[in-house]
Symmetry: C2
Subunit: 156 residues, 2 copies
């Protein structure tokens, strides 16, 4: 069928941090992630969507063992940039499909989202590159997500 | 210096589409991207951040030559899911750094964002995977972004 998805993976050991309503102007992301880098915090997914009324939300995931330290640091950074709020959500899992040239196959993303949607799994965050589509979902949906996405791409 | 960034790339031939305020419930992303797939539209980056008050915004990029057709289709889909609005922005470029195991190097993201921020380049969207960090910026910032990020990672 020409799909190039070679692997499906689930990471249930992450936590997500969201910095709500930071000013959408140059230098903000730099300040945030330079500071996290200095604290040696490994950041996995970073997601920022387009801003509305000049404010943006920035979310990122870290290993759950770093969640507490990361939240503490990010709250302080959030104050400096006058973010509205900084929250941490440990109740997540990240389901990903990995493949070559996936983004040149229209419909691959749709198939992944369909596999999740038909099991009533809510997609909380989406981040992509040519070789990987990752969705953040509720932790308790992790096993079901792995099963349905694996069935869609690997077993068919 | 141990950085694993092997390439910097600029794509100035993309347009971004944002579907504002879709219900954050299972099946919505599936419906949107399955339909786009059926129309053979190649989607590159997809970004969705966490929702607020049960609504989420979904943005994605396509080749600028597909922008008009994509906007038309997405507007119709947007009506079906009762999105608040669907907009297309052709005034973008996507700057990316590519490398191996980047996400295990705290600070790589910060360095990229710093390279952009110090040139007063505003980051409109962020999407990442272990091997790629992509930022959507204004098209007119493209050349400057390539120069500064290249200087940060390839020339140093
Ligand atoms: C929101 C944040 O990404 C900001 N636009 C920046 O460039 O740093
Ligand atoms: C917003 C959209 O991603 C929705 N949460 C879904 O699962 O389809």
């Amino acid at each position: 069928e020409g799909t190039d998805v070679s692997a499906v993976s689930l990471d249930a050991k992450q936590a997500k941090i969201t910095v709500f309503r930071v000013p959408d102007k140059p230098g903000i992301s730099s300040m945030l992630f330079t500071a996290l880098g200095k604290e040696n915090i490994n950041v996995d997914v970073i997601v920022q969507n387009v801003s509305k009324d000049n404010f943006a939300d920035i979310s990122f995931t870290v290993n759950i063992t770093d969640a507490e330290k990361t939240l503490k640091i990010t709250k302080e950074l959030g104050k400096e940039v006058m973010a509205e709020n900084v929250v941490c959500d440990r109740d997540i899992a990240k389901i990903s499909i990995i493949g070559i040239g996936m983004m040149n196959h229209p419909g691959v993303a749709g198939r992944m989202f369909h596999a999740l949607g038909k099991e009533r799994i809510n997609i909380e965050m989406i981040s992509t590159s040519e070789i990987k589509i990752s969705c953040v979902i509720k932790k308790s949906d992790g096993a079901k997500a792995l099963k349905t996405v694996h069935a869609e791409f690997i077993e068919s």
